[in-house]
Symmetry: C2
Subunit: 260 residues, 2 copies
Amino acid sequence: MKNLLLTITVTMAISAPLRAAVVSEQVTYQDGDTQLIGHIYYDDGSSKKRPGVLVVHEWWGLDDYAKKRATMLAELGYVAFAADMYGAGKVTEHPDEAKEWMMVNAANVPGWRKRAELALQQLKLHPMTDVDKTAAIGYCFGGATVVELAYSGADLDGVASFHGSLPLPIEGETPDLKASLLLFHGYADPFLEKPHVALFKECLTALEADWEMVEYGGVMHSFTNPAADQHGMPALKYDAIADQRSWAQLQVFFAEIFAD
Amino acid sequence: MKNLLLTITVTMAISAPLRAAVVSEQVTYQDGDTQLIGHIYYDDGSSKKRPGVLVVHEWWGLDDYAKKRATMLAELGYVAFAADMYGAGKVTEHPDEAKEWMMVNAANVPGWRKRAELALQQLKLHPMTDVDKTAAIGYCFGGATVVELAYSGADLDGVASFHGSLPLPIEGETPDLKASLLLFHGYADPFLEKPHVALFKECLTALEADWEMVEYGGVMHSFTNPAADQHGMPALKYDAIADQRSWAQLQVFFAEIFAD
């Protein structure tokens, strides 16, 4: 059993001012005929291997928001790979288009998981990544993606979903989960019916998963994204407090799962 | 809006080795004819005022476990007051007796809240306490107690309940909550029916409370107490992971609510 060492987060926060800048590299990879364009971020002030974190975007595609989160993780001392789940790094600001792209993935769960695994491979292939310490986080569609990645039995210490749709396992499957799961959920998220959230918890419990869910009262969908309110969708609303809390709680989670 | 400064926790953790030892003082106070015997803990390496935390014991009474938590808070740089909710500092190891004592409190909610407020007064009266930065935490019966304290409108920045019974407001009352609420709950706690937990969340939401609940999968009642398994009650079970997680998450919460 791992000990939760808050001091890991501490050490990273303190040494930050001494570091060089975060650098990024474009990473092109393939899923069959589809070319995917991700971006990897790390602090080049040291060549030491470090824990790696996969970052999966919202339904909009690999936009600046997902890249910003990957940059923030690099600033915290991790190597972060912002995956491209749609191909060609395509993005949209139109909810209808975003939904359509997302549904294409969701309609083929094995293909969805495979594409996420290909991204995880890219993270692990990077020379900066300590392959024994990896996690995946995701937002909205990306939150669902990292849960699917956990269901696939991916070799990860943990996954964290922010306002994800909390997908259930495929009917009849009994996933062999290796990752601890941390789910951040806006209790007032209109996209998720309460019975579904309850069923999701029951399923994880039946799988004897190591899971924890943080529910924030009065908080809507996409609560971590400051641009959430700009799409004319009442279900989406940024919440600064829940954003800050979940980001801090993520760091506590990483300190635990990445402890030696 | 307060900013969540994880660095506060950080600073405290780092300066800890330089500090003098934690000292404790017995504090005798009254609730009508009932004499209460609490204990206050702080680090005497500095005379500077600091945030104050009320600690409310499990149904067993003010035992070594509650005192240990207060000591841990003092080590983190807080002043902590371990309250006595039963009078004369009495404790028991017998569940039947513990339940009886607890029910005496719970049967008279205004009296229950008043007794908790008297303890909070003692914390605020202490010269070490920064009265503008206070919180209350509690375990089991104590978790319910700090929620009642919040319902009473007590002047607190936050309350945190560990495996508490999540009491509802008094029928017809509309509490004026000043405290943010953080609830740690074992999802497999047999003492709490799931519909009750859901109703509790709905009530807090209706009150527009600032609340967050952390649910731990597969975790039973009294999960933070290493002695939980010694009472011959299958519902009580220590869980080291959930204990460590909730303690770390509490520190994140304190860093936020006690920020300048």
